[in-house]
Amino acid sequence: MFESLTSRFSGAFSSLRAKGKISTSDIESTCQEIRQALLESDVALSVVEDFIADVHEKSLAALPTLQAGTNQANAIFEIVNASLVEILGGQARRVRFAKNPPTVIMLAGLQGAGKTTLAGKLAKFYADQGNTPLLVASDLQRPNAVTQLQVVGESVNVPVFAPEPGNAKTSGIYGGNPVKVAKAGVEFAKSKLYNIVIVDTAGRLGVDEDLMKQASEIRDAINPNEILFVVDAMIGQDAVKTSQAFLEGVGFDGVVLTKLDGDARGGAALSISSMTKRPIMFASTGEKPHEFDIFYPDRMASRILGLGDVATLAEQAKKAFDTDTSAKLEAKFASGEDFTLEDFLEQLQAMSKMGNMSKLLGMLPGAGQIKKQIENFDEGEIVRTKAIVQSMTPSERRDPKLLNGSRRARIALGSGRKVSDVNNLVDRFTAAQKMMKQVRNGATPTGMPPGMAMPAMPKVNAPVTKKKKSKSGNPAKRAQEEGQ
């Protein structure tokens, strides 16, 4: 998402950067360009006006202090960045936990915003941190929303409190009353010592007074610690009215943006947090339970401005590469051992743990320029490369020089690839290995080949930096290799 916003911003700034000295009129025209960009991205007009006024004022105030010869455009860029972070809610805020468990989280939003899916993601998020969440099925409106929550709960291994079938044909002991279900759910959690309760509610329109009243009744019955307003990132100008209606009708403490993996321009994000003064707390970026994260305003601002989101990338890498593996690799590299296909396989496995490659690449600075390649990145490539390495014997992995023609044919057969694919992989691996040796010996590698440490990425030229490792256990062999 935010792509077109990003490209508009970079357009505005590249013309500004071309100027050595910035004048008042340059600031005017930059502000005008940003205004247009925001309007085209569904940001509410009032929010746009406030934002522009803010940037305009701060830039003009900063202008006299800018030294000649310094990069003046960067100073303006910083002002825009800071204003963006501010409008997106400043610091990331975490859910406030109740002093006496359970912590009760209530979800509210329009129909189809993604509440039920989010409930599952949230439950998984907290369960992974060692909490014991309980899901409560209070959406008795939509046919089989309860079943959906049950399926979702099952997939993330979190129990679901669902006493009512919610298909309007039959009703259970609570007479199809979502308020009673919510209340009973929280009571149940208390008695069973669940420490987090996530209450899924029916989708409702801001103008539907009956349903808004019902939502406030649920709220009063369960007294939630957090009410999260779930909103589709593709929402348009109605974001203003709807979020206002929910704020007045039920009130909410934070916002969750869903479907951020689409190409929506994200105007909603800017409008809602600015209009309601409620922070965006989580962002949901896919249909799978783990495609979900805390929302960091500063990182989102960098992404909008095309600076990439290296912080998130680093975090995901840290999660995927366990410390043992990294330490082992580091030790190998330091001791002058060669990087082998075995190490490479470990890296590939860690990479697939990090998730969707195109999503990861999209977080790199300047990813906008290679957007097409990223979109076309073939996720299967990693799987296929893994298959090739896995079809080798351990000794072949340690010493690729063993790979003669018949061995290569066997590997191709075993992995279901062509011999040329095997050759290709081995060639690139050898090149990477050689380069690492140069790095270790202090020489500057000449032009990083695209696939160093990751020969699996033929289609994207993005500089994914991975630890460079090297090894060969046998001193004799090493001497021989180094002599080559």
């Binding site: 189809g112 939509r142 997939s155 309007a168 589709d232 190409d263």
Partner: protein
């Protein structure tokens, strides 16, 4: 006085329309999600209006943005086959049920295919609707191939000589090319048995300018023949549908206005356009 009536009064010469009023009208248009371009066009045209019957002239300007394509639902020779597509959470399954109910009430026999094999309990949701309305729902395995479910449904519809066959599909974001490819596969496979008469794209009235992109890309992969505009009972006016019509010429065919099966009607240009400025 509403802005619109104020504007009309201005044209009739009983009121002044200041630059601030024009700005307000622009904001009003923008807030209906018709998009900056269409809003601009409308303002320019509106400034030229000097007719006695200003209200009609204005509605005329907006109505002109609607495409000249027919807004009537397409009916086939034998079994009319309708495929319903869209991004996640726009109301596809509900719209499928409403369509089925509409045709059932008009004395047609209907078969549904539960092609959303991906979202948890989507099949159950459609089955429940099928029970309520009293139409057959053909379903397959959870996480099964949607094309094969659609194929089975088409066979069933053909053998039972049904008047209407409607295929529900899983919601998908239009920028996921693999999922879009899956959708065109569903269409191809069904067309081996029954020609698809209508591909309806479900657009949520709260959608902003992204709706335009949705329509563009869905059309590229499955040739959308009409729009179902849902959730018009909220505060959103669904102006993006007008933008879609203006830019891509895809007619709005149905309008959803609530959660019950009866809250659904064929598109009516006058009331839609009036609603944009209400």
């Amino acid at each position: 006085m509403g802005l619109f009536s104020k504007f009309i009064a201005k044209i009739k010469g009983t009121n002044d329309f200041s630059p601030a009023d024009w700005a307000e009208l622009e904001q009003e248009l923008l807030s209906s999600d018709v998009g900056p371009r269409l809003a601009q066009q409308f303002l320019e045209a509106a400034k030229k209006v000097k007719s006695e019957n200003a209200e009609e002239a204005l509605l005329e300007i907006l109505t002109k943005s609607l495409s000249s394509n027919s807004h009537e639902p397409i009916l086939g020779e034998a079994t009319t086959t309708i495929m319903v597509v869209g991004v996640n959470g726009t109301g596809k399954t509900t719209s499928v049920a409403k369509l089925a109910s509409y045709y059932k009430r008009n004395g047609k026999s209907v078969v549904l295919a539960a092609g959303d094999t991906f979202r948890a309990a989507a099949v159950d949701q459609l089955m429940t609707w099928g029970d309520r309305i009293g139409v057959a729902v053909i379903s397959g395995k959870v996480n099964g191939d949607p094309a094969s479910v659609a194929f089975d449904g088409a066979k069933n519809a053909q053998n039972s000589n049904s008047d209407i066959f409607i295929i529900d599909t899983a919601g998908r974001l239009h920028n996921k090319s693999d999922l879009m490819a899956e959708l065109s596969k569903v269409k191809r496979v069904v067309e081996k048995i029954l020609p698809i008469n209508e591909v309806l794209l479900v657009i949520d009235a709260t959608t902003g300018q992204n709706g335009l992109k949705q329509a563009k890309i869905f059309t590229e992969s499955v040739e959308v023949t009409g729009i179902v505009l849902t959730k018009l009972d909220g505060s959103a006016k669904g102006g993006v549908a007008l933008a879609i019509e203006a830019e891509l010429g895809i007619p709005i065919k149905w309008v959803g206005t609530g959660e019950s099966e009866g809250d659904f009607a064929p598109f009516e240009a006058q009331s839609y356009v009036k609603g944009l400025l209400a």
